[in-house]
């Protein structure tokens, strides 16, 4: 039977990126995927006639531009369409429109608070500076702080030097930012509660933290450090839905000779003489390779597809303790027409970006309180976008599909496991809230897909439906991700690697994890590095 150079488990975007770089370096690569489609959470699926849902991930910003260029993804069909402006809906008809352009944005904010309009410049400048530091680390392998290897010491000194050279005032500001809550961080800028709430929402998306929880300010950065064509903080759609990213990566992979096998769920990683040697599929088929790379999250990898006896002591426990909490839901809706939002003249900007149904700082925090109590809020935070309004390839002519991301949704309910009835009740809560802002909305619904963490886990394979493959708290970042001592993509079994978002730099459709893992693998094989190192055009 054929033996591959490398088998990658999971055809999510990081798995495909990893495979593409290995194939590009001349390796014979196979990607195995449990579903009958590729892409993992970066996927476009036709769920009802003519409507293509980006069922999970729905917006693109984190994708490393250097990878986009390096793998020639544009030629492979990936086109990004930037957001121009977004709407945020508060209480009592309060609406803030945010614009990518500074001038209009300033004028709009001034209507709500002159003070905050000025403060926004300060915030944006600060966030941009903070993100530059992080961006420097995205395509680098974290050092092991306990190691005395020259490479680790060099990398550690690089980090220490980068930090030290920021100067006293700046270090102080960074530490504040990396450890504080979004609410307290934003208190330094804004006086208007609703503007604060609008800016705080990226701090809670995908995470089991509230706007008041220390650490949420950093998550905020995680959502604004991306870019579209070099515009830091910009968001965009992928033409054809998020699946276009996965399809382009798959096309790049196949061009370099890589293979993809779908409907091939892995039962176990084969370990022979202490080395990873291949995989066994659930149907019993075995496939052999010199190297096995898992794109599954760390918890799933070590507790589900590796035999515990093949692991050194302690790893199983570390995997069990890995924080990967489900906190988000998704409701995807096919619409017969464009909803009409109250208070939005001519539905302006519905066709240019997202809609966020926010409420207030308090309602955001109270939604988190509900999550803590094992239920969902009656008034959840919903981040929506109607991609078809300005990227019409994803719905029949004149029709629309709407993506709704909901924070928070618990992985387990206080009153027992999720059932189809409870799932539908959750969906009902969401559409009722939107109906309040867009009367008649419910009448437009043609088809609806409700996804709680339960559905996301079962279908995509993300434990608890955590969109980042693990919480982005300091104890699980940089050299702690996924566990201390294993942050360099090599796993405790020889010839086994990880390349998913459970590894540095974490979640988001960035391709950085997959690329970094490929660099480490090539280094171990003594092959020339094909992975771009540096993406710091903003220095």
């Amino acid at each position: 039977m054929k033996k591959y150079d490398a088998i990658i488990i999971g055809a999510g975007h990081n798995g495909l990126t990893n495979a593409a770089y290995l194939a590009k370096a001349g390796l014979d690569v196979l990607v195995v995927e449990k579903n009958d489609y590729i892409g993992g959470a970066a996927v476009s699926r036709q769920m009802t006639d003519g409507y293509w849902y980006s069922s999970c991930s729905y917006v693109c910003s984190m994708m490393r531009q250097v990878i986009h260029r390096d793998l020639d993804l544009t030629r492979h069909g990936l086109v990004l369409v930037p957001y121009i402006g977004s709407l945020a809906f508060g209480e009592n008809g309060n609406i803030v429109t945010s614009y990518t352009a500074e001038g209009p944005n300033y004028n709009e904010l001034k209507k709500h608070s002159a003070h905050d309009a000025d403060a926004m410049f300060r915030l944006m400048a600060d966030l941009e500076r903070y993100s530059i530091l992080i961006r420097k680390t995205l395509l680098r392998t974290p050092p092991d702080p306990t190691s005395f290897k020259p490479r680790d010491i060099k990398e550690l000194l690089f980090l220490a030097k980068t930090f030290w050279e920021l100067g006293e005032a700046e270090v102080y500001e960074y530490i504040r930012f990396f450890t504080m809550s979004a609410a307290e961080f934003l208190d330094d800028y804004f006086e208007n509660d609703f503007i604060k709430a609008v800016m705080a929402t990226p701090g809670i998306i995908g995470t089991a933290l509230g706007v008041d929880s220390p650490g949420s300010a950093y998550i905020l950065l995680h959502h604004v450090m991306g870019d579209v064509d070099g515009n830091i903080g910009a968001w965009g759609l992928a033409r054809g839905g998020m699946g276009a990213i996965s399809n382009a990566l798959a096309s790049a992979l196949q061009e370099h000779g890589g293979e993809i096998m779908t409907e091939a769920p892995v039962d176990q990683i084969l370990v022979k003489n202490g080395k990873a040697a291949g995989i066994v599929l659930e149907n019993g088929d075995e496939h052999y390779a010199d190297i096995v790379v898992s794109n599954l999250d760390a918890k799933r990898t070590f507790t589900k597809i590796v035999d515990r006896k093949d692991l050194p002591p302690g790893i199983f426990k570390k995997a069990e303790n890995f924080k990967i909490r489900g906190s988000s839901g998704k409701v995807n809706i096919a619409l017969s027409g464009l909803p009409k939002f109250t208070g939005v003249a001519d539905n302006r900007y519905i066709n240019r970006g997202g809609q966020a149904f926010i409420g207030s700082m308090e309602s955001l925090e109270r939604a988190y309180d509900s999550w803590k109590r094992g239920t969902w809020s009656d008034d959840p935070f919903i981040e929506s976008v109607i991609p078809s309004a300005w990227e019409p390839t994803v719905a029949p002519p004149g029709k629309h599909w709407m993506s709704n991301f909901i924070q928070y949704c618990p992985p387990q309910l206080a009153d027992g496991p999720w059932t189809p009835e409870k799932r539908d009740a959750f969906g009902e809560t969401v559409i009722n809230k939107i109906e309040r802002y867009a009367p008649g909305f419910k009448d437009l619904i043609v088809h609806m897909e409700v996804r709680t963490p339960f559905e996301i886990e079962n279908e995509v394979g993300l434990t608890e439906g955590n969109i980042f493959q693990g919480e982005l708290t300091i104890d699980q970042l940089l050299f702690n991700r996924p566990f201390p001592g294993y942050a360099q993509y090599r796993m405790p079994i020889k010839n086994m690697y990880m390349c998913g978002s459970s590894t540095h730099p974490g979640g988001g459709v960035s391709s950085a994890c997959g690329a970094n893992a490929a660099r480490e693998i090539l280094m171990d094989l003594g092959k020339p590095n094909t992975v771009p190192e540096d993406d710091c055009f903003d220095d």
Binding site: T146, V171, T179, D188, K372, R373, N480
Partner: protein
């Protein structure tokens, strides 16, 4: 006109430690205290005729290094044997811990406990060099960087496995730290309490719990409950004795009106203080153990500070969340299950008991179902109550400083009722023996003890307000931007609690 080498504002324990340390080195020192007694929050207050209690009811974290340096045992400081900490169960089945000993938990927790505690003690010890030194400024010369390198070396000496674990757990929420090891809900609540106490934190809050916990565990008792022989007032008494023996003067009932600033071509410098009485006292150095906002805004005045610095002090997080509750008792409280009254009792029988109590406070409400730590200090210190009678001293979370009614009579009464109702479930005879109680919200503590926000620690013990950033980076070396004006209170590194370290570090830095 009197003139001193140093005037120390405030005769709380840190002010006294600072004064004693300076006096021992031959400096002429005057301590001025607004209240008519010394000791600040660690002094007894009579809250009901014949009944007293201190606000700070434990000295568990007091620095042994400071006690040794000031020869405090010779000045009368001695400790009772450590008391057990109980995680109370309503049915009388309690978790009891003292040292590495634990009872009342499932076997699995029993087996893990000593290793868990020893691990944290090891980390607390590793940081000793950090706590007992001035943290140098960032971005300074190579010498400054060296101090951090030393700390890093200490960490490396832990060994790779332990060091990785240290770096990982340092920012964990209490819940995750504990959940990984223990399964018993009462134990989980008890251990969480010690991480979140005094802070704007609940068990699920990341980043800011473990470092302060390690600081507290670095003290005399390694996390156990400890009171001095003769009660909390013995701390101030021994410090007064040490300070006076070294020649320091202490004046009580002498509130400071302002810090005197004189300017010349070399800029402004602090040259003394003016008391409320109008009396002027001069000194080469003015050292304030008051909290940073009080010192810099009330006593100094913003006009002497740069706008950037002023903003940093303004945005210091200083709102307290702990209320103090005292009850005078005509007889012995009969706690369910009959634990030793000389212990410390925690009513927080699960993570969520604390977490959900915290949720109210986020919206400016006192906890409807509060979490409580109480002691019966009169069981150890007979002077606090008439013979045969007792005092309950309780720390109650959470009580927001900025309660949304401004702590109206109604909200105070409702909160007191909630506290009593909760205590009664664990002390069934409470109603029969209760003679009266006192509620001190953070707002009350601010008014009575001149602590901004009524915050125990003068400023939140959060990473962004600790180490070389406490209280903020331009004042973290016990030196304010105003020449001759120094800080030595809980708002300085390493922080709050009855530690004595800020005062000691400040004095040694000033002597350099």
């Amino acid at each position: 006109m009197s003139s001193f080498d140093a005037i120390v504002i405030g005769a709380g324990h840190n002010g006294l430690v600072c004064a004693a340390t300076l006096a021992k080195k031959g400096r002429s020192v005057l301590v001025v205290e607004a209240a008519d007694t010394v000791g600040g929050l660690a002094q007894d207050r009579e809250f009901h005729a014949g009944f007293k209690a201190p606000i700070a009811h434990a000295a568990s974290s007091f620095s042994t290094q400071v006690a040794k340096a000031l020869d405090l045992p010779r000045h009368g400081l001695d400790f009772e044997p450590a008391g057990a900490t109980y995680g109370l169960g309503e049915d009388g089945a309690h978790v009891r811990i003292i040292g590495d000993q634990i009872s009342g938990v499932p076997q699995a927790d029993h087996d893990e406990f000593a290793a868990y505690r020893q691990k944290l003690l090891r980390y607390a010890k590793t940081l000793d060099v950090v706590w007992h030194n001035t943290m140098p400024r960032i971005g300074g010369g190579l010498m400054d960087a060296m101090v951090y390198a030393q700390a890093a070396l200490k960490l490396r000496l832990l060994g790779a496995e332990d060091m990785s674990e240290f770096v990982r757990v340092l920012t964990l929420p209490m819940r995750d730290l504990i959940d990984e090891v223990f399964v018993d809900p009462k134990l989980q609540g008890l251990l969480s309490w010690d991480g979140v106490i005094g802070s704007k934190l609940a068990p699920r809050s990341p980043n800011n719990a473990v470092l302060p916990l390690l600081l507290r565990m670095n003290g005399a008792a390694g996390g156990d409950y400890l009171v001095p022989k003769g009660g909390m007032r013995a701390i101030a008494a021994s410090l007064v004795s040490a300070a006076q023996a070294a020649g320091a003067q202490i004046r009580t009932s002498s509130p400071v009106k302002r810090i005197i600033i004189e300017g010349d071509e070399n800029g402004e410098r602090a040259t003394g203080v003016e008391l409320e009485t109008g009396e002027v006292l001069h000194a080469k150095k003015v050292i304030s153990s008051a909290d940073p906002k009080t010192t810099l805004f009330k006593l100094l005045g913003q006009r002497h500070l740069e706008i950037e610095f002023t903003n940093r002090i303004k945005r210091l997080r200083t709102n307290g969340l702990v209320a103090k509750f005292h009850i005078a008792l005509s007889g012995e409280p009969e706690i369910v299950g009959g634990p030793d009254l000389r212990g410390r009792f925690i009513i927080a029988p699960s993570f969520d008991a604390i977490e959900f109590a915290y949720d109210d406070a986020k919206y400016g409400e006192a906890s409807a179902d509060p979490a409580i730590e109480f002691t019966v200090p009169s069981a150890v210190d007979g002077a606090l109550a008439p013979a045969g009678q007792h005092v309950v001293s309780a720390n109650v979370m959470y009580a927001p400083y900025d309660e949304k009614t401004g702590w109206s009579d109604a909200s105070r009464a409702a909160f007191s009722d909630a506290i009593i109702a909760k205590l009664k479930r664990y002390i069934p005879n409470l109603d029969q023996i209760s003679l009266g109680h006192e509620l001190l919200t953070p707002l009350d503590l601010e008014r009575e003890y001149r602590v901004t926000g009524g915050h125990w620690h003068h400023a939140e013990m959060a990473l962004e307000q600790m180490l070389m950033m406490r209280p903020t980076y331009q004042a973290a070396q016990y030196q304010t931007p105003v020449s001759g004006l120094h800080l030595c209170g809980a708002g300085s590194h390493p922080g709050g609690g009855v530690l004595g370290i800020p005062g000691w570090n400040a004095a040694r830095q000033i002597l350099k």
